[in-house]
């Protein structure tokens, strides 16, 4: 449904994307995980046909983006990082406007249907600017899917939301995938990445690894040991041989160490995706 092949893009001397390849299948929630400035938004802009790549090719919904950007645009939904809603229009007007841009004939029906599906019916006549951040994000998502796109791009849909709103946004995302859409979500929240079917770790414009959360953790475990040392000071921990990374955690210290490091007697812990990410970026630098 989405396929990127060695996509590159630079801005001046900065290489924002360096030969990025990935694939998103129908019905799948694919997470693009990376810190700010990793190139997540640049990749989304290229895949949605807003930005042209310097190199590489991409296919979305069976069409090559570079050749038929307008046909691609009609088949996708894109929720930008900034909540792209008109604050001076009501919830209903916003949805109807979007639906009309894609499917003018069925716009009224589609807008009504998505109002119900996203629980926005009680707010239909409220100005978008009067909604709370969480509900406005819900509206932004509803807008992106009102025309039932085959492929959905969501750029940091949960940034700045409280945990409850984030949970409900993720529910909506999975709802769309169950409908059969291929969903590409970008995030810099490592814990959220667990909610994706598959992930790509993006760092400095390059894909460090791709796989399910479990696969990525297994990959990390094959490369390093993840340990917990109670009662140890951070300084002591950093001074130990083979330690790649150490940080305080509760009453002790968490460690990432080389597999061959002689560190007996410490507690092995299951790595989080954040641990995986820390290890892989450490390797990449």
């Amino acid at each position: 449904m989405v396929q990127a092949e060695k996509v590159s893009r630079g801005f001046g001397s900065v290489r924002a994307l360096d030969r990025v390849s990935l694939e998103v299948r129908p019905g799948e929630v694919f997470g693009l995980l990376g810190p700010n400035g990793a190139g997540k938004t640049t990749l989304v802009r290229i895949l949605t046909g807003v930005l042209k790549p310097d190199g590489g090719r991409a296919w979305v919904a069976g069409l090559e983006v570079g050749r038929e950007p307008h046909r691609v645009k009609a088949r996708i939904g894109y929720a930008t990082q900034e909540q792209s809603v008109y604050r001076d229009l009501t919830v209903g007007e916003n949805l109807l406007f979007r639906a009309r841009l894609y499917r003018p004939k069925e716009a009224g029906l589609l807008a009504k249907e998505v109002l119900e599906r996203f629980g926005l019916l009680p707010y239909a006549k409220a100005l978008a600017g009067h909604l709370s951040g969480g509900w406005r994000q819900r509206l932004a998502l509803a807008q992106a899917v009102a025309h039932r796109p085959e492929v959905l791009f969501l750029d940091e849909p949960t940034t700045g939301l409280d945990p409850l709103s984030r949970r409900s946004v993720w529910e909506l995302i999975h709802q769309e995938a169950e409908r059969g859409a291929a969903v590409l979500v970008t995030t810099h929240y490592m814990d959220e990445a667990e909610r994706c079917h598959r992930l790509a770790l993006l760092f400095g414009g390059r894909v460090l690894a791709t796989g399910t959360p479990q696969e990525l953790k297994a990959l990390a475990k094959a490369k390093a040991r993840f340990l917990y040392a109670p009662g140890l000071s951070l300084k002591e921990a950093r001074g130990m041989p083979g330690v790649l990374e150490a940080w305080p955690s509760g009453a002790g210290v968490r460690l990432i160490a080389r597999r061959e490091a002689p560190l007996g007697g410490l507690e092995e812990v299951e790595p989080s995706l954040e641990d995986v990410f820390t290890l892989l970026t450490k390797e990449a630098l």
Partner: protein, 373 residues
């Protein structure tokens, strides 16, 4: 087509939601019309006059009566000496001072020339020019009457040259008549350029453009969807100004209304395109506002709306050919005041069409390029 309508309707909704803008759109041009119509007065009335009359005879009486005719001058100060006349002008009590020497009637009877001393406040050249003209007119009248009296008595001759003036199109020199075509031009420029530029830049500034670019909306649909609502608004406002001018100030529309609308349409098209062009150059709304000023000021100064083109230095006269408002005002004046038709006005209409076509082309080229990153 559907998408253009969706965009245009959305724009209308947004304008309607704005509490202030719709009122401003209606109030501002109306206010401007009333202000310009009533305050800018090229025909002066009631100029305050100080007089030292040493003669106090029939001649000086006739002259003062003539000056007071049609409210041109208002006698505010009878000075006690010639010096006091100048002092009255110095103090600002009067703006024109007149000294009639003693024995006016005797001098005239003897056929000698009577020299009148006149002091005009020249701080405002435009005022001075008009005051002088009014004075000359009054003195000419008195001269004519004296000569006529002599001719009837069988002595002397009539002045060899005497003008018989016919002021065409606007015989009463009503300022509003001349101003209304100009205000229509100004309103059409400001509203279309500013509102279009602002609405596009706002879309970019609030990052809404990104999601519109990712939608199936094509660049030309986007431009048309943005421009159509303001086309309607600008036309509505122009017709409002026209109607106000007609009912309040009695400005006639002597020629064809269709021709008037055609010129306005061509002009508005170019202005809207200029708005799009400015929006592609400006990143913020503030920049767009200043960009509009940069576009509108030459319109005001070089179109002949405020300052007569004939009075400009040669270079600026040539530059005024580049200002589309010049052609619009020519057509508006031609149709409304002169009542001439297409046969006379076609060069101006052609110029408008050429200008609008050019700006439209530039705007769409730049917009396309900006969109295709």
């Amino acid at each position: 087509m559907n998408r253009i309508l969706a965009l245009a309707e959305k724009e209308f909704l947004q304008i309607r939601r704005d509490h202030v803008l719709p009122r401003l759109i209606v109030l501002l041009p109306s206010l401007m019309l009333l202000l310009f119509g009533y305050t800018i007065n090229f025909t002066l009335k009631g100029i305050p006059l100080a007089v030292y009359d040493a003669s106090q005879d029939r001649i000086s009486q006739t002259l003062l009566e003539e000056l007071a005719k049609e409210d041109r001058f208002r006698l505010v100060h009878r000075a006690a000496s010639p010096e006091a006349v100048v002092q009255a002008v110095d103090r600002g009590q009067a703006r024109v001072g007149l000294v009639v020497p003693a024995g006016a009637l005797e001098k005239v009877r003897r056929g000698e020339s009577l020299s009148l001393e006149v002091y005009v406040d020249g701080t405002d050249p435009n005022f001075a020019f008009q005051a002088q003209a009014a004075l000359r007119k009054a003195i000419q009248e008195v001269n004519a009457r004296i000569l006529l009296g002599r001719a009837m008595a069988g002595e002397g001759v009539l002045p060899p040259l005497s003008p018989s003036l016919h002021t065409l199109y606007n015989p009463e020199n009503r300022t509003a008549w001349f101003m209304i075509p100009g205000i229509i031009g100004l309103v059409l420029t400001m509203f279309t350029v500013l509102l279009t530029a602002l609405s596009i830049v706002r879309e970019v500034e609030s990052r809404m453009m990104e999601s519109l670019l990712a939608s199936p909306v094509r660049p030309h649909e986007m431009v048309l969807g943005k421009v159509l609502p303001y086309l309607f608004i600008a036309f509505g406002v122009a017709l409002l100004v026209l109607a106000l001018g007609h009912w309040v100030f009695g400005v006639p529309v002597r020629g064809s209304l269709a021709l008037l609308l055609l010129a306005m349409f061509l002009f508005v098209l170019g202005s809207l395109a200029a708005g799009v062009l400015i929006s592609t150059l400006a990143r913020t709304q503030v920049q767009a506002v200043f960009g509009t000023y940069a576009y509108a000021f030459p319109t005001i100064f070089l179109s002949g709306f405020v300052f007569p083109i004939d009075g400009m230095p040669r270079l600026f006269q040539l530059l005024s050919y580049l200002v589309p408002a010049r052609y619009l005002i020519e057509v508006l004046c031609g149709v409304m005041l002169k009542g001439v038709g297409f046969g006379v006005l076609w060069p101006h209409l052609l110029a408008l069409a050429l200008f609008s076509g050019l700006v439209l082309f530039l705007a769409s080229a730049r917009f396309q390029r900006q969109v295709a990153v």
